[in-house]
């Protein structure tokens, strides 16, 4: 490809590394019988609001700023996720947070 790339004046771009991608999912439909643990959680309590997956560089105030337009509203997110956030200064990429309605 290098030769052809040179001939046609094209330069190969390095392929991005997607090895650290985190994926997940859930459904309102139940899992098939006997399928074992699934990515879906049919017995999870129904809550209002949205979910948000934490990425590197996030903080509760940053998420609050983005979701509500007000960084000062971070305690609202903290309170809704007390079961998974032990310290409001420590959240981790991949954590799935519930974002209550503003």
């Amino acid at each position: 490809m290098g030769i052809f790339g040179d001939l046609f004046g094209k330069k190969e771009k390095p392929r991005p590394d997607f090895s650290n991608v985190r994926s997940g999912g859930s459904s309102t439909a139940p899992a098939p019988a006997g399928s074992g643990p699934a990515t879906i959680a049919p017995t999870a309590p129904v809550t209002t609001g949205r979910t948000y997956v934490v990425v590197a560089g996030d903080s509760l105030s940053r998420i609050a700023k983005r979701e509500y337009g007000d960084a000062q509203k971070w305690p609202k997110i903290y309170e809704a996720n007390r079961s998974i956030i032990k310290d409001p200064d420590l959240i981790y990429p991949g954590q799935e947070l519930r974002i209550p309605e503003a």
Partner: protein, 140 residues
């Protein structure tokens, strides 16, 4: 001689009818399940629908695709196949569901801790291995 002609005609009729007999005895594999909606966005509601639809993301965003299905079946597999710049596979996720008749919604999400490369992305949704639709979006 006439008996032989009747016998030959009878054999011919049986052979001609055989394929129809076989086809009706096959078990039905259709579940009646179909994909009715595919949406892409930045977040989902508790009902798994997209809260903020978009086709333009930022590198720090999480991609969400919400797939609405209608119908029922004992087991069906939904797959989300994410690709970058026309071919590089980013991820492929599957979920097995057993919808009970009413409309169901399934969401898939994808994040990258160090941020998404800018460019064109596509998510293809498959129902039991058959393509049910695609959505294209970009990261800028």
């Amino acid at each position: 001689m006439r008996m032989h002609q009747y016998a030959r005609a009878l054999v011919g009729l049986v052979l001609a009818a055989a394929p129809f007999g076989c086809s009706t005895s096959k078990p039905a594999v259709q579940t009646g399940l179909k994909v009715t909606h595919i949406d892409v966005g930045r977040s989902v509601t508790a009902e798994k629908t997209i809260a903020e639809k978009t086709d333009s993301f930022r590198p720090a965003d999480t991609f969400y695709v919400s797939v609405a299905t209608d119908g029922s079946g004992p087991s069906a597999t939904l797959t989300a196949r994410w690709t970058y710049q026309g071919g590089q596979v980013v991820d492929e996720s599957r979920q097995d569901i057993a919808p009970t008749g009413s409309a169901a919604v399934t969401e898939f999400h994808l994040s990258k801790p160090d941020g998404w490369p800018t460019g064109e992305y596509k998510v293809e949704v498959l129902l039991n291995g058959a393509s049910a639709g695609t959505r294209e979006f970009k990261v800028t």
